[in-house]
């Protein structure tokens, strides 16, 4: 079965003629979701990682039951134990399936917005089939209201598809960084295959073949597939548009291109060898160039393999093994409560979606602006509204306003990956780091801004704005964009800003 893919857009020539922004990928991704068949919409509407809309409302968690891996990636260091870092492959404690089930039910009872349980490592879930499937087996019986999903490097995927389908796991993420073994050899130094360690191009070739075969088998079973790719400048950046085309043609539903994380202190090959990650601009350009072919995910937070909570937050500390040990959970009662809360959230989402569609319709009937696009940063703690103090924001959502409407671009972290020691780094204050993270944005919308940051933001060319507190994000961004247009700030192209971003 070939899944329908979003953004089924016109030919490339037409795409370019419109300046790289074809109608279906502008506006909001919720509108894209509207064009999905009901069966798929049903599956993704409360999944924070599969729906940009849902991630403002619903939470997810990962349980780290799968420590073993069958391949090595150059962006990964298998010494995964660090509590101060937030990135894939990092966890504080590896759980047994029994502990994982207990933790999942404790979180579900205490964070009713948690709808999704994923197994994402810290190794490869399918290289730990017994631990992974035991966890899934038990959860599908004991906590049937939780969606189960899994992410994998794909090497052991073909042999696992039957078992995945059995547990009603309808969301699988495959990390596919290339479809060319020569490029693969620069990303994967080795794989473990048929009782041997296989290095270089030969290993990469087997891995790629397994990933593609697994993808085809999942699609044939009607399982939703998201493809993750790590963007590595100079290695696979030019190649990922091709990856996007290939996986879309096979029926993948969503493509998530993530920036390489390669701090030297992580001790990865890329970190130590000085391989840089992409700039926000480079990432956005690649996502935009793929979006003509594929529905792109832009709200990924590259979370830890034991993350708990809304995307962008981690409440794992509230659910450590010693804490869940003493929690009494009445799951039947919790399920009742969860059901009521989920329905209420769904109703709120539906009404906001409708309102947004109506506003977008009205907007279309107004005379079209001819102004340049602008990036704006937004501070929010969820619900799709501007509801966070500038100083409290640990991350900002970046939106682009243009004559075509408002679209979500990405998120940017306000404090860097390692928040353990504020004295490390080059002596910048947190405020300076935050302002640097907002480079390229011309306004920042939040519920309030203090006096000191106000002045520093203005000096950095970023207009602070606290006038749209509690308003829906897209409406507020559009309103600020129009104010800027009226004030004549949008006539010239800000090449300098773009180049420095």
């Amino acid at each position: 079965m070939q899944l329908p893919v979003l953004n089924n857009t016109p030919s490339h020539a037409e795409h370019e003629a419109k300046g790289g922004c074809e109608a279906s990928s502008c506006g909001t991704s919720e509108n894209q979701m509207d064009s999905l068949p009901d069966s798929i919409r049903e599956k993704v509407q409360n999944h924070p990682c599969y729906s940009e809309d849902a991630h403002h409302y619903f939470a997810r968690m990962h349980v780290a039951v799968a420590p073993a891996c069958n391949i090595q990636c150059h962006y990964c260091n298998r010494k995964y134990d660090c509590s101060n870092e937030s990135r894939p492959g990092v966890v504080s404690e590896v759980l047994t399936p029994d502990q994982a089930v207990k933790k999942t039910m404790a979180v579900a009872a205490n964070i009713p917005q948690m709808t999704v349980l994923g197994i994402a490592g810290p190794g490869d879930p399918l290289a730990n089939p017994e631990r992974t499937f035991e966890t899934f087996r038990r959860l599908s019986l004991e906590a049937p209201d939780i969606k189960l999903c899994v992410s994998t490097n794909g090497l052991a995927l073909p042999e696992s598809v039957e078992e995945l389908a059995k547990h009603n796991i309808d969301h699988v993420t495959i990390t596919i960084n290339c479809v060319d073994p020569e490029i693969g050899a620069k990303i994967y130094p080795w794989i473990f295959w048929n009782n041997k360690r296989i290095k270089g191009v030969k290993g990469a070739k087997i891995l790629i073949a397994q990933q593609q075969k697994g993808l085809e088998m999942l699609i044939a079973k009607g399982i939703l597939v998201k493809v993750n790719s790590v963007m590595i400048p100079g290695v696979n950046d030019q190649h990922l548009a091709e990856v996007s085309r290939v996986v879309k043609a096979k029926g993948a539903f969503l493509h998530n291109v993530m920036p390489l994380i390669s701090e030297p202190e992580h001790g990865t090959f890329y970190g130590v060898m000085g391989q840089r990650g992409p700039t926000p601009d480079e990432l956005q350009d690649l996502q935009d160039s793929c979006s003509g072919d594929m529905n792109m995910m832009r709200h990924c937070r590259q979370c830890r393999a034991d993350a708990v909570g809304m995307l962008g937050e981690d409440r794992g500390d509230e659910f450590t093994l010693d804490k869940i040990e003493v929690m009494e959970i009445d799951y039947e009662a919790a399920m009742e409560k969860r059901k009521v809360i989920h329905l209420a959230i769904q109703a709120e989402m539906d009404s906001k979606r409708l309102e947004k569609a109506e506003k977008a319709q009205q907007q279309k009937q107004k005379p079209r602006l001819t102004t340049r696009p602008v990036l704006m940063a937004v501070a929010t703690s969820g619900q799709g509204v501007i509801n966070l103090h500038f100083g409290h924001a640990k991350e900002f959502l970046i939106y682009e306003a243009s004559p075509d409407g408002v679209r979500f671009i990405s998120h940017r972290k306000a404090d860097q990956y390692c928040a353990g020691d504020t004295s490390c780094g080059d002596g910048e204050t947190t405020l300076q780091v935050t302002i640097r993270a907002l480079a390229g944005c011309e306004a920042v919308l939040c519920s309030k801004v203090g006096y000191e940051p106000w002045e520093m933001l203005e000096a950095a060319g970023i207009a602070p704005n606290g006038e749209h507190a509690m308003e829906p994000i897209e409406e507020a961004v559009l309103a600020v964009y129009k104010e800027m247009a009226t004030a004549g700030k949008l006539d010239a192209k800000p090449e300098a800003i773009r180049a420095n971003a």
Binding site: P67, C69, Q72, D81, V94, E265, F269
Partner: protein, 92 residues
């Protein structure tokens, strides 16, 4: 005749299921090899299974006490480059 897992082991479980002799077991602070059970895979495989999946250079020694996966052999990071990076980090 047995391999040995040493303290650089990160407890990733990868070796345990691939051992043809069930000689590897979970222990604190790290996995261990039962030397009475370990056959060095002789008769089963031409290469050490544990050391063929282990991601940590130097974590598994052969019966002569030599690292089966020496520095640089798995990550591709040249040992001198790794030393340089670590020295750089410690100087901060």
């Amino acid at each position: 005749m047995a391999v040995k897992i040493i303290e650089s082991c990160v407890n990733c479980f990868a070796c345990e299921p691939v051992c043809p002799s069930n000689a590897i077991y979970e222990a604190k602070p790290h996995f261990l090899v039962n030397p009475k059970k370990c056959t060095e895979c002789e008769g089963d495989f031409p290469v050490f299974q544990c050391a063929s999946i282990c991601p940590i250079e130097g974590a598994i020694l052969d019966s002569f006490g030599i690292a089966i996966n020496p520095p640089g052999s798995l990550t591709g990071i040249p040992p001198e480059k790794m030393a340089e990076a670590m020295a750089e980090l410690q100087s901060h």
